[in-house]
C-alpha cells in the first residue's frame, strides 16, 4: 500500500468518523426534543390512572392499583359530546374540503371574466379577524333561527375554513402539469370530469392536509360552540371538557385527566389514517405565501 493511498484512506476514515459523530449528535438532540414534546402526553396517560389520594401521596409514584374506573366516569360523562364532536367536525371538514377543492381548482385551472375580483374577494377574508365578526355572526345565527342546531356550526365553519383551503388547493393544483388537463380536454372530458378524475386524485396530499388541519382546528374550537350551542345534549367535546374539568377538577383529578385522554382519542384515530398524506401534503411545498 502506497503512502498516498494510506493517507487518503485515513482521511476517509476521519471524515467518516466525523460524519457518524455528527449524525449521532443531531439524532440525540432531536430525541431530546421528541421526549420533551411527549412529556405532557405521558403525564396525561400516567395521571389518568390515579385516584385522589394517589395524587396527593406522591405524584410520581406508579399508580398501584391503576384506577381504570376513572375512564368509566369520563366515558359516562363525555361519550355523548364526543359523538357530537365527531359528527359536527366530520361534516364541517367535508364541507370545507369539498368547497376548497372546487374553488381552488377553478382559480387554478380556468380563465373567466371577474376571476381576479372573485379571487381577491375570497382571499381578503384572510385578513379579517374572527373576533371582529363574533357579535354580528352570533346575531345572524339567532335571526336565522339556527341557534342551538348544528347548522350554526357547520355553515360558519365551512364558510370561514374554505378560504385558506381554497388558497392551498389553488397553489397545489397550479403545480400539476397543465398538459394532463389539455390532453383530457382533447379527449373530450368535461370540466367536471377533469376535476373529479384528474385534479382530485392528484391533489390527494393537499386534501388530506386540509382534512387534518381543519379537523384539528374545528375539533378544538370552543368559543363558537360555547356561544351558539345551548343544550348539553348537542354540545361538542371541547366545550364539554371544560365544564367536566371544572366539575371534577376539585374532587377527582384522575377522572378529569381520563377525560382529557378520551377527548384526544378521536383525533389520534384520524391521525393514524391520514398522517402519511398529511405530511406529504404540507411538505410538498404548496404551503407558502
Amino acid at each position: 500500500m502506497t503512502e498516498r493511498s494510506l493517507r487518503a484512506d485515513r482521511m476517509h476514515t476521519r471524515r467518516k468518523v466525523r460524519q457518524i459523530s455528527f449524525q449521532s449528535g443531531i439524532t440525540f438532540v432531536t430525541v431530546i426534543f421528541v421526549l420533551l414534546a411527549f412529556i405532557p402526553i405521558f403525564l396525561m396517560l400516567f395521571l389518568s390512572l390515579k385516584n385522589q389520594s394517589q395524587f396527593y401521596a406522591n405524584l410520581w409514584a406508579i399508580p398501584n392499583p391503576p384506577q381504570w374506573k376513572n375512564y368509566d366516569a369520563a366515558w359516562n360523562q363525555l361519550i355523548r359530546n364526543m359523538l357530537n364532536s365527531v359528527a359536527t367536525v366530520s361534516v364541517g371538514t367535508l364541507l370545507i374540503v369539498s368547497l376548497s377543492a372546487m374553488s381552488g381548482y377553478v382559480f387554478a385551472r380556468l380563465e373567466f371574466p371577474l376571476k381576479n375580483f372573485l379571487f381577491m374577494l375570497m382571499l381578503a377574508l384572510m385578513m379579517v379577524p374572527g373576533v371582529l365578526t363574533l357579535t354580528p355572526s352570533f346575531k345572524l345565527i339567532q335571526r336565522l333561527g339556527l341557534k342551538n342546531t348544528w347548522w350554526a356550526l357547520w355553515l360558519p365553519w365551512a364558510s370561514g375554513g374554505q378560504v385558506m383551503g381554497m388558497y392551498l388547493c389553488r397553489t397545489f393544483i397550479s403545480g400539476q402539469p397543465a398538459s394532463l388537463f389539455e390532453s383530457a380536454r382533447i379527449d373530450g372530458a368535461t370540466e367536471f370530469k377533469a376535476f373529479f378524475y384528474i385534479a382530485i386524485p392528484l391533489a390527494k396530499p393537499i386534501l388530506a392536509t386540509l382534512v387534518v388541519m381543519n379537523m384539528i382546528s374545528l375539533y378544538g374550537d370552543f368559543i363558537w360552540p360555547l356561544l351558539v350551542i345551548e343544550s348539553n345534549t348537542r354540545q361538542v367535546i371541547s366545550v364539554a371538557i371544560q365544564t367536566y374539568s371544572s366539575s371534577t377538577g376539585m374532587t377527582d383529578y384522575g377522572a378529569m385527566i381520563a377525560g382529557f385522554v378520551m377527548a384526544t382519542v378521536p383525533l389520534l384515530i384520524m391521525f393514524m389514517f391520514s398522517s402519511r398524506l398529511y405530511i406529504e401534503g404540507i411538505t410538498s411545498g404548496a404551503v407558502k405565501a
Binding site: 374553488s103 357579535t135 360558519p156
Partner: protein, 674 residues
Amino acid sequence: MALKRDKAAPPTGGIRRAALYLSIVFALLLIASCALNIYARGQTDIFRMVEYGKSLQNNRILVSSDLNMVFLGTYHNTVLAFDANEKQVWSSDIGGAIEAMRYDPQRQWLIIGSQNRNVYIFDAASGENIATYPVNGKVYDLDYHQETGRLLVSANVNASSHTLYILDIETGEPLMTAKLKQVARNARFSKDYNHIFYGDARGRVIKMDLNGETVASAKATTEVRAVAVVHKTGDVMVLDTLGNLFRFDEDLNQLYTLKLVGEGRAVGVSDDGRWVAVGTREGDIYILNERGEVQFTDRHSYDVTQIYFGEDVSYAVTLSPELFEFSTKKLDNINTMSLLSTVTLWTSLGLIVLLASSLIMTFPRSRAKGRRFFEALYHHRVAYLMLLPSIALILIFNYYNVFQAFYYAFTDWSQATRTMREINFIGFDNFVKIFNEGYFLLGVKNLLIMMAASFLKLLTVPLLLAELVFAMRTGSGESSRRRYWFRLLLVMPMVVPGVVSTLMWKNIYDPNIGALNTLLDTVGLGSWKHSWLGNPDTALGAIICMGFPWVNSFAFLVYYGGLINIPADLFEAARVDGSTPVWNFFHIHLPLISPQLKMLIITTFIGSVQDYGGVYLLTQGGPGTATYVPGLELYYAATKFGLYGYACAMGLIMFVVILIGSLINLRMKTQELN
C-alpha cells in the same frame, strides 16, 4: 371570433318584431304583477298607526262600543278618553302608572288598576271619579265579571308576596283574598267565572276556585308574563318570558306549545277565539290562528304592552307614543295575501329580467352585446357554478357580518337596546372609550410580549428541528427511515386538542398537585415553587411557556417541506465552492424557504393579534389584569357585558392592525420580486 360575429349578423325583421311584441306583453304583465303586489302588500299591511294618544308611553287601551269611546292608560299616570272623532273628551291624572282597565257597560263605569295601590272607578262618559278602593299592593291586572259585579285584582307587594282579591264592585269589599308567595302578573276568571287562572314567576300555571283553593296546575318554561282566557272555548293561553306560548284546556291539560323569538310580554285573544296575538319586548307581534300556527308577524319599534281585540277595531299598544289599530277582518285572508305578495314579487323580478332580455333582442346593437354577455356567462358556466356555493357562503356568513360589524362599531348597540330601531349612531364614541377607559390598552402590552414570544417560538425550535431532521443524511435506506420516524414523532403531539393541552398545562401549573411544583420539590428546589398562574409576576410567563418545548408541528413540517424542495444542485454547487453548513443556512436555506417563512409569520401575526383562547382557559385575564389581552376584552364585552357596539369597535381596531401588518408583508414580497 370571426365566425361568431357572422352568427350575430343583422337580425331579420321577423325576430325583431317578435321581440318587440314579447316586450310589450312582458311589460303589461309586469305592470299587472306590480299592481297585484301593491294590493297584496296593502292587505298584509294590517297595522295602522293612529293619530291620537300621542302621550309618551301608552300602556293599556280599552274600547267602549256603546259609548263609542276609546280609553288610554299611560305609564305616566294619566287616563285619556277619546270620542269617535278621535278627539280627547277628558283626561285624569291618577297617582300611578296604569296597569289594567276594565269596563262595565251596564253602569258605564271605567275600572282602572294602578301601580299606586288603588283601584279607581270613573264614570266613563264624564271622567268623574266615582270611587277609589285601596288594595294592598301594586295592581298588576284586573278582570271583571259584569253580572255578579265581581272584580278580580292581582296586587303585588314585593317579589315574594302577592295577593289576589275578589272585590265587590259596588262596595269595594273583598269577597276573597288569596296570598301568594310568587308574583302573579296576570290573573283571569275562567269562562264560567267559577275559577281563576294565574301564572307565577316560577313558571307555574294555577287554576284556583273562588275560595282560593288550587284545583289544578301546569308548568310553563319560565316566569309567566301573560295569561288570557279564550272565552269561546274556555281554554287558557299562557306566555312566559322566554317567548314560549302554551295553550291549556279548562283543566290545564296542555293542548300545544310553541316557541316564539323574543321576550314574551303580552297575549291577546279575539272574542270569537279565532285569533291569538303575542307581543314581545323586542317589538314583534305574532298573530296565530286557533291551531297555534303563526299566520303573520310584524315588527314594531318598542315593546308591545297589550294587544286588544275589539269588536270592530283591534289595537296593539307599545310602550311609546306609537299606537296601532288593526282589523281582524283583514286577518282572514292574510295567509293568501302574504303568499300572493311573495309570489308577485318574484314574478315581477322574473318579468323584469324577461323584459330586459326581450328589449335587448329588439335592438340589434344591444342584442349583439347582450348575446356576447350571455355567451360569456354560458361559456364559463362551469367556473361560475363551481364557485357559486363558496361565494354564496362567504357573502352570507362573512361579508354580511363584516359590514354589520363596521356599522355597529359606530353605534351604541348593547344588551340594553331592546329593538334594532333604538340603536343610535354615536360616531367615534366607542373608539374614544377604548382609548380612555377599559382594559383594551392594558391588554396591548401583554399582547406585544406574547406576540414577540410567539414569533421567537416560531422562528427557533421548529426551524431548528427541521434543519436537524433535514441534516440526517439521506441516500442509504437507514437514514431516510430515521427521517420518517422523527418526522412522524414530531408531528404526533398535534393530535392532542388545543383545549385539552391547555387544560393539561393548567394542571401542570397547579400550585398543589401540579407536576411543575412537585418536580421542583423532588429535585430539592422547593423554594422556587410558585402559584404559577395565580401570581401576577409569573402568570404571563407561565402562559408564554405553555407548550414547552414549543414543537410547532405545522411550522416544523412547513419548514421541512421548504428545505427538501430546495434543488439539490444548489448544494452541489455550494460544496464545490467549499461552503460551510452555516453559510449554507444563511445563503441557501433561509432565502429559499422565505415564502414559507413569510406565510408562517403572517399567520402567526394574524392569529396572535386576536388570540385569547389560552388566556381565557388558563387565567381569564387574571390575576387582576396581569394577563389581559385585547381579544379577551372584546369577548367579555360581547358576552359578559353585552356591549355589542363597543365590541365591534375593538374588532375594527384589530382588523386595521391586521390589515396594516398584512400589507407590510405583501409589500415585502413585491419588493423581493422586483
